[in-house]
Amino acid sequence: MKKVLSVVLCVCLLCAMMAGCGGSSSGGKKTVTIGVFEPASGDNGAGGKQETLGVQYANSIQPTVEINGETYDVVVKYVDNESSNDKAPSAAAELVNAGCSIILGSYGSGVSIAGGPTFENAGIPVVGITCTNPAVTEGNSYYFRICFLDPFQGTVLANYAYSELGVTKAYCLNKLGDDYSAGLVNYFIEAFEGLGGTCVHEEFPDGNSDFTSYVANAKAADCGVFFSPVSTEAAQLIIDQTVAQGATFPLLAGDTWDSNVILQAAMGKDVNVTITTFYPEGADADFDSNIKVWINGDATNLANNGGDDTVAAVTAMGYDAYFFALAAMQKAGSTDPAKIMEALWSTEYTGVTGPIKLDQTNGDAIRNTAYVKKADTATGTWMAMDPVTIG
């Protein structure tokens, strides 16, 4: 009896596994595969899903591409890198094995740096969408990117804190071992101290959800601003804790906080959240209204966008990245990754987030404008402030 039961259980498990590996059949049409290397779970799951939404939306309105007079169906292959530097290389390998011609992503610089060598070895070009750490493209000729970089963003934020907020002492908090937040915090401190301010710098370990003491430290040190460009998951807890302790300093962060997760966490609370980002909602009214219809039209999309139809900057960036990739393919006149890589250096495209053109050293986008937004805690929306342009 026991043996029969165990055999039945084993068979059930095997069947479940077989069902998972669905066969892939291709029709008569020619296809080209674009890989999407994004987190759908873990610390950055919320942001990764919003960035992926931009790609999905772009794919829904432009599902084919014309290369050398032939029409190719665009197949988009999504993998989840789980926001984890350990899992990123195997997720990257999955995309390489799927035969992608070009890859987009990832949200989060750490996973991009971790996955980069896998793509480089396979000779497949990658277009980073919102990974802002300089180390992503440095020394990796296959990694490109369409967003601004952290040295720029850190300078903008430091200037904002020093000049606009009029603060001379800042509290900086990043996650231990996280490339994105540690990098941005360093550039911020460099710029802020260059302006004549002082910083208190602290780090919190992975898996931490108790931010009481960090907020208490910032309060006790009389810091005028709390700079913490960490994942949205930690951000919710920081906002909550700041309110719970009745702290009055503004919370300042980078592009990761441009998410409705933050708006929901701050809504109805007495807190000042200010961020820098890539795209302010409302800059392109057509794009905004069309994507809202698309998001609201499907329950899964709505859930992936965090339950409402706020357009996150990363969504707009994902949308542009998809079209930028198509433009590179057309310029290359081929679906061969090596030819696309050659073409990427000189591809130009004007998207909803502005013109995209890459520099010739690391393949980073030439961008010098960051948009500043402040959370309106009464209505749960972002208020656009004056954009900042440097250089």
């Binding site: 799951g45 370990p205 898996g207 931490n208 108790d210 009481t212 003491s213 998951e233 919710q236 009745g246």
Partner: protein
């Protein structure tokens, strides 16, 4: 060095988090005392209780959701024991196999939570009164911070009374002392073990209510770090001893926050585990883990 100027917020946070750790640590220590099993899934039961609350409170009033969370969590603990541990135990599997089964359950729960939450952090509902902000000795905090230690101590005292003065409590002590002999004496060992899991899961559910009210975000890995630290607390206090687990949990919670207040934020977790090593070097059985103590 903020701690030296104004220690109040750090000590408050420490006592509060210590109380939450204590409720979870009891689950580890009781199961170990009776079965000599480290129930690795316990931290995840705590996390699942949080997920239950998030989903139930979305559709039910809190007065109904909270008891339902407690009942469901208890049921979960009971089912885990019956499905994943009991069959192995009754067929005399080596203890290591049961432990591996516990690790399996832990990952199963995490992945189920990943599936149901879609991998995103869920905002825990605000509990009225508990979530209110209050001021005490110049430190501003949520009311739950003050309620937690009191609540924990009341529950622990009730648990100790239960074990000392009821029939099932007596059976628990007997099974902890000698598994085989108590079976020969006619004690229904299986129901005693089920009762242990039920109590452990109940306390984990209460712990999760208090913990997530303070740190209002539930993710599939939320159980990981607290689970690990509570296990450390249980070992620290002498695994198998309930007062030991409670004291261990408070020591860890308070010292962790003091370390952060002293400015060594980077090392707050490293310190917790270094402390464990030092204590075990000096007292290999933990603070209260002497052979003479009764194990429940």
């Amino acid at each position: 060095m903020q701690f030296l100027q104004n220690p109040m917020p750090y000590i408050l946070a420490g006592i509060s988090v210590g109380g939450q750790y204590a409720l979870i640590a009891i689950g580890y220590t009781m199961v170990y005392g009776i079965l000599r099993l480290i129930n690795f899934a316990h931290g995840d039961v705590f996390m699942v209780a949080g997920v239950f609350m998030v989903f139930l409170s979305a559709s039910l009033p809190l007065g109904l959701a909270i008891p339902l969370v407690l009942v469901l969590t208890v049921l979960l603990g009971f089912v885990i024991e019956r499905v994943a541990y009991k069959p192995l135990r009754t067929r005399n599997a080596p203890r290591m196999s049961i432990m591996i089964s516990a690790i399996g359950v832990s990952y199963l729960l995490q992945n189920c939570a990943l599936y149901f939450t879609g991998g995103l952090a869920k905002v825990y509902p605000q509990l009225p009164w508990l979530s209110d902000t209050i001021e005490i000795f110049g430190a501003v905090t949520k009311r739950v911070t003050l309620i937690t230690p009191v609540f924990t101590i009341v529950l622990v005292v009730a648990l100790v009374m239960f074990i000392r003065h009821t029939k099932i409590g007596m059976a628990m002590r007997a099974v902890a002392k000698d598994f085989e002999t108590s079976r020969l004496m006619g004690i229904k060992v299986n129901s005693v073990i089920s009762a242990t899991f039920i109590i452990g899961s109940f306390l984990a559910a209460v712990g999760s209510l208090l913990y997530f009210t303070n740190y209002a975000s539930v993710t599939p890995t939320s159980g990981g770090m607290p689970g690990l630290k509570c296990f450390v607390a249980a070992v620290f206090g002498g695994i198998g001893s309930i007062p030991g687990a409670v004291i261990g949990a408070f020591v860890i919670g308070i010292s962790e926050n003091i370390i952060k207040g002293l400015g060594w934020t980077t090392f707050s977790d490293a310190f917790t585990f270094a402390l464990l090593i030092v204590i075990l070097l000096v007292k290999p059985t933990g603070l209260f883990g002497e052979k003479a103590t009764d194990k429940v």
